[in-house]
């Protein structure tokens, strides 16, 4: 399989170089692969995801996704519109909008029509079991429903790559399992690629590969079951 994500010797620091977060990270992710990034807080997992998506500019090194070098604003916007879906620890849905209105945000970004997107949203909502909650305001939903809503939103433009930063970190155990099962199921069925940042070794063990990060570097790689 060809590499969907290529990260080569990426360095990233904050606070004018005083805090080095990524120190020469290299990584190739094949299309359809499910990768877990593990490590303690501050080891650089989230920053690596941000660099892959283009939300953070790298200090040096190369990042490419779907053959696009993440080098400028227009590439970053294009990647986030068509190639990358993002899920965070907190759902980051707009509380006073309905779930459906939230799901339309990526569609609006690409200038798509809500009518065309409706079918896709309903299909994704059915897959995640929240069809009956689409017209509810986010503030009326449970934590698990919100995170499933965020999952639907991330897949609205059918991205090839899903970046998940502790997607179940804010959920209770029962919801954590449900949401993670859904996530893996959706990604596997659709042949999508997933890079997951997590603290949880149990969740990581269910991925194809686990990359353990420490002090801004990939320390070792484990192949999952």
């Amino acid at each position: 399989m060809s590499a969907l994500v290529k990260v080569g010797d990426v360095w990233k620091s904050f606070d004018q170089g005083r805090v080095e977060v990524l120190r020469g990270v290299g990584l190739n992710v094949a299309e359809g692969e499910i990768i877990a990034l593990c490590g303690t807080s501050g080891c650089g997992k989230s920053t690596l995801l941000n660099c892959i998506s283009g939300l953070e500019e790298v200090d040096s090194g190369d990042v490419s996704v779907s053959g696009y070098d993440v080098v400028n604003e227009s590439t970053r916007v294009d990647l986030l519109r068509h190639h990358i879906g993002y899920i965070f620890q907190f759902h980051h849905l707009m509380q006073d909008l309905t779930l459906a209105e939230n799901c339309y945000v990526p569609v609006i970004a690409v200038g798509g029509s809500k009518r065309d997107a409706r079918e896709r949203m309903e299909e994704l909502a059915a897959s995640t079991g929240i069809s009956h909650r689409l017209n509810q305001r986010v503030r009326e939903l449970s934590g698990g429903e919100r995170q499933r809503g965020a999952l639907v939103r991330s897949l609205m433009n059918d991205p090839k790559l899903l970046l998940c930063d502790e997607p179940t970190g804010a959920l209770d155990e029962e919801n954590r399992e449900k949401v993670f099962d859904l996530l893996l199921d959706l990604v596997r069925k659709r042949g999508r690629t997933l890079i997951l940042a997590t603290h949880d070794p149990e969740l990581a063990s269910r991925c194809d590969r686990t990359l353990r990060m420490r002090d801004g570097r990939i320390e070792r790689e484990l192949v999952g079951k």
Binding site: V77, V105, I108, N157
Partner: protein, 365 residues
Amino acid sequence: MIFTNLRRHRVRTAIGAVGIALGVATMLSVVGILGGAVKMFERILRNDSEMVVFERNVSDLFFSNVPIGLVDELKSKKFVKDAQPVLFTIISAPDRPVVTCFGISPNDGRLKKSEWLAGNISGFREDENGVVLGERAADFLNAKLGENIELGQYQYTVAGIVRMENGFENGGVFMPLATCQKAFHKEGVCSVVTVALADNHEASEVKNWIQANHSGITALENEEFSNSYSQFRIMKITAWVVGGCAFLLGGLSVTNTMILSVFGRIKELAIARVCGFSRGQISRMIFGESLLISAIGIIAGWVLSKGVLILLRAIPQLQGYIEPSIGLKELFGASILAMLTALIGALYPAWYAAKLNPAAALRFE
């Protein structure tokens, strides 16, 4: 997104729109009131004429002295159909320190055309002390037909009471020209001569003749006069300056609203970026919200100004003086100003929102 965002933050939207509405309403009301006043004054001067002849370089028509002989000279010209002298003065009455007084000839069209509530035109004769009162003047002077009233240092007889559309005229006193000249020691002069042109003749003929024969006098077409008369210009400029200041406040309100709006949803804007919104889309969204707030404000301000002017018109003491004229030009001008204000007010918030680093914004929960 723009509609949705404004709907979600109704109070903030309302505050921004109220700021613009007050700016629009103030501007339209002030422009309407002063514009109406200017138009009323213009109508006093026009009186079925096309031109105004007055003393050159005077700052106010009350100070203009035109030799009365010029009226007959003008009447004798083939390019003049009619010429009427008017002497503008201010006179005082008991309990009423300022009453506008018009010294006119009995042939002046304004009395002939008006609605006579008491008396008739035959009572208004040259060089006699019979005066005609506007309806409101009769009201506040508490005067009736045939009664004697004290105006300035003299007693006059009320020869008639007329209802005039124009507030200045309806609240004024019409005095025979010669009587007025005597009362104000202005013998032999008037303030202006209004000139009606003969058919197929041009205003330039009057201008040229005046220029050649009366160097201290000037003749202007009514439109030219309105545009050049310093008092009118001062009133118009005042209206736009006051309105502009109101807009400045309205603009600050929009800026404040949009800054609050952006700072209050930094995380949302970051998520919009993560969902694929470009910097341009984000700034267009902020500008769009600002313009929509402004559009709401313009409509509300227009309705508000209409209401204010209707209310002012309903106040008996102001009747005739407030003749609001909010034309399309004024509405268009105010709308453009409001839109510009909204755009300028959104500059900083839009720039800030577009420059936002989504990763940093999401890190700081």
